[in-house]
């Protein structure tokens, strides 16, 4: 109580200082927002806008993946399950909206997030007992299980053709028609930034810290009162929420979702994205996701063997820059700061961008 009032009085006196403090915290986010808003004005082609949309979606997805791998030390081979189920659930809601359901289209990603959370709770409960190989194998199994059910429950998954929806035939909070790709891009950017900020802040909470602790030394975590299983479970559920949200953004941008959304290739891509960028920093997966989407587009138009080059890139990163491209670059720049083996895992207050 007294802490709060003290903070308030301290803040009330020098208003200017307070403003500059905010600026110090917020500038990376403002910069990100500025870049996101400028890009579609520079690259105006339909192809570029599509790519930008996909990047935003992949960034959220990769960040959610890094909540598991980077922050908690859980290697998942089935993270697309939550992305895809979030996408399918929100697609059903979108279709209901097309039929007249009076839910604003802007909130669709939130629906997807809660769908991801729901399945995260169910599947997380059976996954987090052990980290390491056991967790990885269970995630692989769950991924296959859900992908296989997409062929069995064609009512929900829409069979081979998938499901379609129409984003401009829905209610909007602001009366906007999201028909054009570039219009929906701005909505996606808002959600992506909100999600990224939330995931960034989560790293600074008791749960975020203990996730790092459990990753590094689950035994010691137990002897300071924490159940590693529960820490992993909560992280898993939150990560599934954001994966689901990314799935919702996917539905908004694509207006179609097929079984690929829950498939192993999607799970693999998000792993590659996070790893290529670097799982030790917050911005690593952002960088990785951007690069992977870009390469997917540019390489696939140049050569049919793009998967080959992509695989080579991944192997090079694993062998020569295990901290990822962004992580390694950061390490080079921050040579003055003591860095131990891997990058500081960034659970302290100073943002490890």
């Amino acid at each position: 109580m007294s802490a709060v009032s003290q903070q308030q009085t301290a803040a009330a006196a020098p208003v200017a200082l307070r403003g500059s403090q905010w600026l110090r915290i917020l500038w990376p986010w403002l910069l990100a927002l500025a870049i996101a808003l400028i890009l579609p004005r520079v690259f105006t082609s339909g192809h570029a806008i599509t790519m930008l949309n996909q990047m935003a979606v992949m960034i959220v997805f990769a960040l959610s993946y890094n909540m598991l791998l980077g922050n908690t030390g859980l290697l998942s081979f089935g993270h697309a399950v939550y992305f895809g189920l979030g996408a399918f659930c929100s697609m059903h809601v979108l279709r209901a909206m097309n039929e007249g359901l009076a839910l604003p289209i802007e909130l669709l990603p939130l629906v997807a997030g809660f769908a991801g959370l729901f399945f995260g709770i169910i599947f997380g409960a059976v996954s987090v007992r052990r980290a390491g190989v056991v967790f990885a194998m269970i995630s692989l199994g769950l991924g296959e299980l859900v992908h296989a059910s997409s062929y069995m429950f064609t009512g929900f998954f829409g069979g081979e053709a998938g499901l379609f929806g129409d984003r401009d035939e829905a209610v909007s909070l602001f009366g906007i028609n999201y028909g054009p790709n570039v219009t929906v891009y701005y909505l996606v950017v808002v959600w992506a930034l909100l999600a990224a900020a939330a995931m960034f802040l989560l790293r600074k909470t008791p749960l975020g810290w203990m996730a790092n602790a459990v990753r590094d030394n689950p035994e010691r975590a137990q002897f300071v009162g924490y159940s590693p299983q529960l820490v992993r479970f909560f992280q898993f559920c939150l990560s599934a929420f954001f994966a689901g949200l990314a799935g919702g953004l996917f539905v908004l941008t694509q207006e179609i979702v097929t079984d690929e959304a829950v498939g192993a290739i999607k799970s693999g891509t998000v792993l590659l994205s996070a790893y290529i960028g670097g799982i030790g920093t917050f911005l690593g997966p952002v960088f990785g996701a951007t690069l992977v989407v870009y390469l997917e587009h540019s390489l696939s138009s140049v050569t049919d063997a793009w998967m080959l080059y992509f695989g080579l890139l991944f192997m090079m990163v694993v062998m020569f820059a295990p901290m990822g491209l962004f992580g390694t670059a950061m390490q080079q720049f921050a040579a003055g700061v003591p860095v131990i083996g891997v990058e500081r895992w960034g659970c302290d207050c100073t943002p490890s961008f």
Binding site: L201, P206, M210, N212, V224, G225, F234, R344
Partner: protein
């Protein structure tokens, strides 16, 4: 049983496969007592600590903490009931700084649990308590150094600090001064004496000079059995103990 017993072991046994390492240990540690466990290498002292703290499961017998059975519970549940332990081999969050290690050790006991709606560094009480601990451990200058880069003695100090951070009512310290120089060991023992004025201490220690200085009672563990459990004077005078342990081990 009596109100005054903090920790009570009854017929505790532990086998690793066919090897019987702890062979029926009965031991009572009174509240606010400083109890030292001595014994030759391989006697099973660390194993006994692992059994008490839930790191290992007992094969037979039971362990009670303030009259409640804790054997069979998981380590974090035992910790929450007020028992905290250090490790013979330093066991810290190596990638985290000294301050981060202390904060992590404080979070649960200060009620923050799995919260994901508040910031760790904004918790003033946690920060203050951690800074006070830093001071006591003489690690203030090393506050932002990752635990893995500390000197051995500093790591040991942090290990003890992280153990007592939570303000547990019962502390188990496994060879807190192992590998330290004389002066370092004295400093650590001084610290331990300071912080255990109102809690119960069970400690493994090899340095007999240290042992007789700090102990209210001493138990001697040899081949998984308690040979004697008595005041320092009585243990020193005990013929069986002298033969089995003191006679050979006094440096």
């Amino acid at each position: 049983m009596s109100e005054s017993v903090a920790l009570s072991l009854k017929g505790v046994k532990k086998n690793f496969g066919r090897a019987e390492i702890i062979r029926g240990v009965d031991l009572d540690v009174a509240k606010n007592e400083r109890h030292v466990l001595i014994g030759p290498n391989g006697a099973g002292k660390s194993t006994l600590f692992n059994l008490i703290s839930g790191r290992l499961q007992v094969s037979a017998g039971s362990v009670d903490l303030f009259g409640e059975t804790i054997s069979g519970k998981s380590p974090h549940m035992i910790n929450r009931q007020g028992l905290s332990r250090s490790f013979q081999v330093t066991n810290l969050f190596q990638n985290m700084t000294v301050m981060e290690n202390l904060r992590c050790s404080l979070l649960w006991s200060m009620g923050h649990k799995y919260a994901f709606w508040k910031f760790v560094t904004k918790q003033r009480e946690v920060t203050e308590r951690a800074e006070e601990l830093l001071e006591r451990l003489r690690l203030t200058a090393r506050r932002d150094v990752p635990a893995g880069l500390l000197t051995y003695a500093e790591q040991r100090a942090l290990e003890i600090g992280a153990t007592m951070a939570s303000g547990a009512k019962v502390l188990l310290l496994d060879e807190p001064t192992a590998g330290m120089s004389r002066t370092e060991a004295d400093e650590v023992m001084e610290l331990i004496r300071e912080v255990t004025t109102d809690c119960t201490l069970l400690m493994v220690e090899h340095d007999l000079g240290v042992v007789f200085g700090v102990a209210d009672r001493i138990s001697v563990l040899v081949y998984g059995e308690v040979l004697a459990s008595d005041t320092p004077e009585a243990v020193r005078a005990n013929a069986a103990v002298q033969e089995a342990y003191l006679g050979k081990e006094v440096h």
